[in-house]
Amino acid sequence: MKAINLLAGLAIVIASCQSNTKNALPILGNREPVTKIVDGKTVTDTVYTTIPAFKFVNQYGDSITEKNLNGKIYVADFFFTSCPSICPVMHRNMLNVYNAFKNVGDFKIISHSIDPKYDSVPAMKKYADKLGISGQSWWFLQGDKDATYKLANSYLSSAAEDSSAPGGHVHDGWFILIDKQKHIRGTYNGVDPVEVTKMIADIKTLQAEPDQAVAQ
């Protein structure tokens, strides 16, 4: 009898675990507790790190700031057009993401160039054209180099100049999934098609969250 109870308990725990992991993506990055007084009661809330403000230019020459991504779920990565190593693989995989969501109004992809000197606005436009990208769902952003490198850290990524690396720059190949509240909800190895397929599934999960359904 005891054994049956134990089994039943176990089954409930397992079932509840599954339902938790299935429906919610974690919020990643630093967090801190904030205590405040609401209606005379002390309330402790967790504040999660968000993507900070930025200002860059896209492949059409338009200024893009974090405000242009308000109310959007988006994926960010860091690359450069003359990159001989992992970038072609990343963007071969990102094309699948683009094709899955290019007609979704509140979804975007932003790719930051870490070599803005070479990747001028016309160079980025040409790259986008050759990749077969049109419209406003995938932006290729360039601007101040140090600001880009600093922003990469906010995305839990790294980017830097390195004359010993092929192409003269180093960066990692993460795709970072950001929600409408500018929280980091997932990091995926953009070089691995399996992880990118998982990201596409996670984006759909995220779109179904109540907080993401409303336009903000």
Partner: protein, 138 residues
Amino acid sequence: MKALIAIFSFLALVTAAVSCQGPQQIEFNRYYSAGAAVYQTHCQNCHGDKGQGLAELMPPLTDSVYLKANKGQLACYLQKGLKGKITVNGKTFESQMPASDLSPIEIAQVLTYVTNSFGNKGGLINSDEAEKDLKSCR
């Protein structure tokens, strides 16, 4: 018992047929399998695991006509890189392919792999042929 004998003799026949490769076939297989490893390390990022290329940025390696027409130059492209416009599968490409430090034998191996994969059937390119082509690079 009869059936067993039949199966065994059939297996023996198959084994004999498979192992009965000529020295040319063995040499080809050696180049091809070594070339597959070179390809994965040096070429696959841009040209893809199926030689499919990447949109209009990176040319595919599936154009047998291009590969045949430029056969004598392929070794040079791999060693010195490739600049300027080329037309592959009817599309224009102008991204720069970087030079490489592949040895002549590696160049022969990977060319054998590429010109006999992705729908291509170009036959063996051995290291003598690659070295000869490398001497006449433009």
